[in-house]
């Protein structure tokens, strides 16, 4: 009985704390693996990402969004940096990334790759 109660308590706590919603299969399919790892793991290294810090202390990540609807991005408060056809760049917090990937009009979200001088 005490064990069942503990399990129930943990489940209630998890729900009431409002933790991040698990990605749907459709959303996962839009993300490249590094961004899934970013959203799913608490121990990712910054080295694989284009990270900077916002004035409020939140980390933001440089990403590339494939969409033809930048208005939808702006409607949810995303500051778009560049638009070339369906290629859009933005710098997102993980919360914003979840919102973006949930948009129907977004086809894919990619971590920003790295290049080196030749």
């Amino acid at each position: 009985m005490p064990i069942k109660f503990a399990v129930l308590l943990i489940a209630i706590l998890a729900l009431t704390c409002g933790g991040p919603k698990e990605l749907s299969d459709e959303e996962r399919a839009k993300l490249d693996p590094r961004l899934i790892e970013l959203l799913n793991s608490s121990s990712v290294s910054d080295a694989a990402y284009d990270v900077s810090m916002r004035p409020d202390g939140q980390k933001e990540y440089g990403v590339i969004i494939r969409t033809n609807n930048t208005d939808a991005l702006r409607t949810i408060g995303i500051q778009v940096q560049s638009v070339f056809g369906d290629v859009v760049t933005a710098r997102l917090t993980t919360d914003e990334l979840r919102k973006v990937v949930a948009l129907q009009s977004v086809r894919a979200v990619q971590n920003s790759g790295r290049n080196i001088p030749h």
């Binding site: 900077s52 590339i64 940096q81 760049t89 710098r91 790295r114 290049n115």
Partner: protein, 903 residues
């Protein structure tokens, strides 16, 4: 019309009054003692003569004064530098010119022919230095009116090569966006973006003059960006034009994207920034990306490649991308896997000392399949740890004792191709294990599948992970695989160079000059498209040295003067093309990227190294911007430059040239054309060049295999601008030498000044057709058995508008009416000279301002024609004037005529 005639009359009065002023000061005999350039300085002031303008000091001019009485010159207050039997050298002021003209002891005052010495032979190799000199259309093409954009490690904005050459308090850099900085205080983030700091031209100039100091924080500590910028757009101001870049009068915008790595998203943002600036300024832009990555699909579908394609879809925009330096790294593998079969890839991690910190000892294998087959992948570490990921699974292996192992097996939502990635790294405490790693990929589908894989990251400590059985195919990196990019391979133009400390360096191995750089990445793309597009000089390239560069890590690359250095890579090749595109856009601002690519690839040169084109090593061949731009201006134009090299590979002893000693190489052009340049090598030893006088380069006729009579003008180059230990280039347009196919000529070098010596290199061969000679004492004799490394370059072709001689022996001076007239787009002017004369043929507007020089220099007797295609000239009436000054009895001839240009 009445107004036009009045203006014309006014113009003639202006021109006459100039001549009157001249006549009132010097007699004809005195005037005849001065070269036309010096006459123009006295007549018209400094601007037309192109004399140096020195802020806050008196302008001076190098001069060769023909006299046998140096004492008389000194007595007249002339500061004589070198004294030879028949002439002296001096630096003279404008006032000195009048003094010299009136001295009976002076026979003639000649400015010599100080040309743009392109010591970095790469600029001459591309043909750009001839364009700078106005070889095509009699118009100097230097990138005026365009913007060269460098997205790189930043720029040394203090470097003199990026400043206004006549007022070095002014910068040529319009904007710098440092994407790595966070704005503080009054610093501004560029409009429309949320990060980085933008500096304006005004702020850079304030920093240059120190008001305020310390505001511009951007620095190019890596030095890569400054070097790239110098090649694309440097003006050589730091060292008397010695290291002039491709588009020396283009404006510059720099985006500092990082120091050692650059993200796709920020590169895309860079394009947005450039598009905004180009639109606001109304100028065409040529963007350089000398960066890239081997991680990705290599099929042109990546985001930054799609953005690039979109960016260049508007006229007046081009992006040039380096192909990559993986042409000899064996990082690629490709093939097929039968249904149910397994392909195994093997990697060797060598013994190494790990780098401190995390995520810096790693290897990454990026495997792409055509379509979306069902595959599973299993990695086995040197200690037999295994980890498998099936279709659409990804994650990290539970054990990290051999390093952190991750496999991603997923469908790319962008190009709907399956991508399987293996990443072994030091995310935690354990680093990748030394030994053999295998990666087995099983085809679970019922059909044959095709793959390409790249070992895109491979550094552990200071060692390199290798892929067993790897090859160099498809090693062109991204974003160079973008269809809209002009993708550039690298070849060698210099194998050795002098160092700042008096020693010299050479690359190891067999000299590959003129051959492809071994590292230059090879095509095609994964989807089979042609890449690279073209090749440009990319090894042994001299360009700007950033003052923030850590010279202790690259001391051997630093050139004398400590303002430039040598670097190599397709990074160095790309800016040659970026600058070339700026030259095209300067002449034709609305060209599209695809038109520019077509012009460059259709005019590229081929040779024995290249073979059939296009191919996946060279693209369409070696870039020839001279012919490309000529074709853009005059579609029927063809220009072929031929180098006449009789020396053999290797090197041996050298021949010192000093005092009365001269050396010569006989050349026999196989085509008729214009002598445009001379290449020569100076020895490696520290005393290869001594003295501060001039090197004289002359052309002689041939008698019995030896030089006979000097023909054409003498071209002089200050010895301090000549480099030891490498090949040098002298532009010879001012020699005014048209050569005839099958006729023997001699290139003669001398350094007659007191204390001047030039040690010219001899080859290492013993060829039977010896063509080298030296003048020692009063007679020429053969140098045997070796040949001097002196080569003549001749340009031949049709349709371009240099002065051409046409048959006939005229009895009198004549200036013919231009034809057609009125005209658009081009017209031809002919003139005749009964004897050798110093000629200036120029076009003036009705205000008396010169708008074009069609011919200048010494011409032999004959009839000549020149075609003028106006550039940036309004329609209307113009005056063209011939001024021909013969020696002695033939006198001076001046005549003007009208022409009408219709737009």
């Amino acid at each position: 019309m009445n107004n036009l005639l009045r203006a014309l009359t006014l113009c003639m009065i202006v021109l006459s009054s100039v001549a009157g002023t001249w006549a009132g000061n010097l007699t004809d005999a005195e005037k005849d003692r001065l070269h036309p350039k010096f006459q123009m300085i006295l007549e018209d002031g400094l601007l037309r003569a192109g004399a140096p303008i020195l802020k806050g000091s008196q302008p001076t001019h190098d001069a060769i004064i023909y006299t046998r009485d140096a004492a008389a010159l000194r007595a007249a207050g002339i500061q004589v530098n070198s004294v030879l039997e028949t002439f002296v050298t001096a630096q003279i002021s404008t006032a000195d010119l009048r003094t010299l003209a009136t001295l009976p002891a002076v026979q003639y005052v000649d400015p010599g022919r100080v040309n743009e010495l392109c010591n970095d032979v790469s600029i001459a190799e591309t043909g750009a230095s001839l364009l700078h000199a106005g070889f095509v259309n009699n118009t100097p093409y230097k990138g005026q009116g365009t913007i060269v954009v460098i997205y790189d490690t930043g720029i040394d904005w203090k470097h003199l090569d990026f400043r206004n050459p006549t007022d070095t308090t002014k910068s040529r850099i319009l904007f710098i966006w440092d994407q790595t900085l966070t704005a503080t205080g009054s610093e501004a983030i560029p409009a429309g973006f949320s990060y980085g700091v933008e500096y304006t031209k005004a702020q850079i100039e304030n920093e240059i003059d120190g008001t305020p100091a310390g505001f511009v924080r951007e620095k190019d500590t890596d030095g890569h960006g400054s070097h790239v910028a110098g090649t694309a757009a440097g003006n050589g101001r730091a060292l008397n034009g010695k290291y002039t870049g491709m588009a020396p009068q283009a404006d510059i915008i720099v985006i500092r994207g990082g120091e050692t790595s650059f993200t796709d998203a920020k590169m895309i943002d860079g394009l947005t920034y450039v598009a905004n600036k180009a639109s606001a300024l109304g100028k065409p832009v040529s963007v350089n990306w000398s960066i890239g990555s081997q991680e990705g699909p290599h099929d042109g579908t990546s985001a930054y490649e799609m953005a690039l394609n979109s960016f260049v879809s508007s006229p007046g925009r081009v992006v040039v991308v380096s192909a990559g330096n993986d042409g000899d790294k064996n990082i690629h593998t490709g093939g097929t896997i039968a249904a149910g079969a397994t392909a195994t890839f093997t990697f060797t991690v060598p013994v190494y000392t790990p780098t401190s910190g995390t995520e810096n000892d790693k290897f990454f294998f990026d495997l792409w399949f055509n379509g979306d087959p069902d595959v599973s992948a299993t990695v086995t570490s040197p200690t037999a740890i295994t980890y498998t990921r099936n279709r659409n699974e990804f994650g990290e292996a539970p054990s990290t004792v051999d390093g952190t192992i991750a496999i991603w097996n997923y469908l790319s939502s962008v190009n709907t191709n399956r991508n399987v990635q293996l990443f072994v790294h030091d995310k935690g405490a354990q680093v990748p294990k030394t030994g053999t790693w295998t990666f087995a990929v099983k085809n679970n589908s019922a059909s044959l599948i095709q793959y390409d894989g790249w070992l895109s990251s491979r550094t552990v400590g200071t060692a390199t992970v290798t892929l067993t059985g790897g090859n160099n195919d498809k090693s062109v990196a991204m974003p160079a695989t973008a269809s809209g990019a002009i993708t550039v391979a690298a070849y060698v133009t210099k194998w050795s160079w002098p160092m700042f400390n008096g020693t010299s360096r050479t690359y190891s191995g067999t000299d590959r000059t003129a051959n492809i750089s071994a590292f230059s990445s090879i095509g095609p793309t994964r989807d089979g498209r042609q890449k690279p597009d073209i090749a440009a000089p990319g090894q042994g390239i001299a360009s700007a040295l950033s003052s923030s560069y850590d010279t202790t890590r690259g001391a051997t690359s630093i050139l004398p003067g400590f303002l430039h250095r040598i670097n190599q890579g397709t990074s160095m090749a790309a800016p040659h093309v970026t600058g070339a595109a700026a030259l095209l856009l300067g002449a034709h601002p609305n060209l599209t990227a695809s038109q520019i690519k077509a012009l460059l690839t259709s005019t590229a040169n081929t040779d024995a190294f290249i073979g059939a084109v296009p191919n996946y090593t060279w693209g369409s061949g070696k870039m020839d911007i001279l012919e490309a731009l000529a074709k853009d201006r005059i579609p029927s134009a063809t220009i072929t430059r031929t180098t006449y090299a009789y020396d053999l590979p290797g090197s041996s002893v050298y021949t010192p040239v000093s005092g009365p000693v001269k050396v010569a190489v006989r050349f026999t052009p196989g085509v008729s054309g214009r002598l445009t340049g001379v290449q020569f090598n100076v020895t490696l030893n520290a005393n290869g060049i001594t003295g501060t006088g001039n090197l004289l380069c002359e052309v002689y006729s041939n008698t019995g295999g030896f030089p006979d009579t000097k023909i054409g003008n003498t071209v002089t180059v200050p010895l301090p601008l000549v480099s030891r230990a490498t090949n040098n280039y002298i532009q010879m347009l001012d020699a005014s030498m048209n050569v005839t196919s099958g006729t023997d000529y001699h290139i003669v070098l001398s350094a007659p000044g007191a204390g001047d010596t030039l040690n010219v290199l001899l080859d290492g061969g013993t060829g039977s057709a010896n063509r080298s000679a030296w003048l020692y004492g009063s007679a020429w004799s053969s140098i045997t058995p070796n040949n001097l490394r002196i080569r003549a370059i001749v340009a031949s072709g049709t349709g371009f508008t240099s002065v051409e001689q046409i048959p006939g022996t005229p009895a009198v001076y004549r200036l013919m009416q231009n034809y057609p007239n009125p005209f658009n787009p081009a017209t031809t002017v002919e003139f005749s000279l009964p004897a050798q004369a110093k000629v200036t043929l120029a076009v003036f507007n009705l205000l008396g301002q010169e708008v074009a020089t069609l011919a200048t220099g010494d011409y032999n007797a004959g009839t000549f024609k020149v075609t003028w295609t106006p550039e940036n000239v309004a329609s209307g009436m113009y005056i063209y004037r011939l001024k021909a000054e013969g020696n002695g009895q033939s006198g001076t001839f001046i005549e003007s005529k009208r022409l009408v240009y219709l737009k």
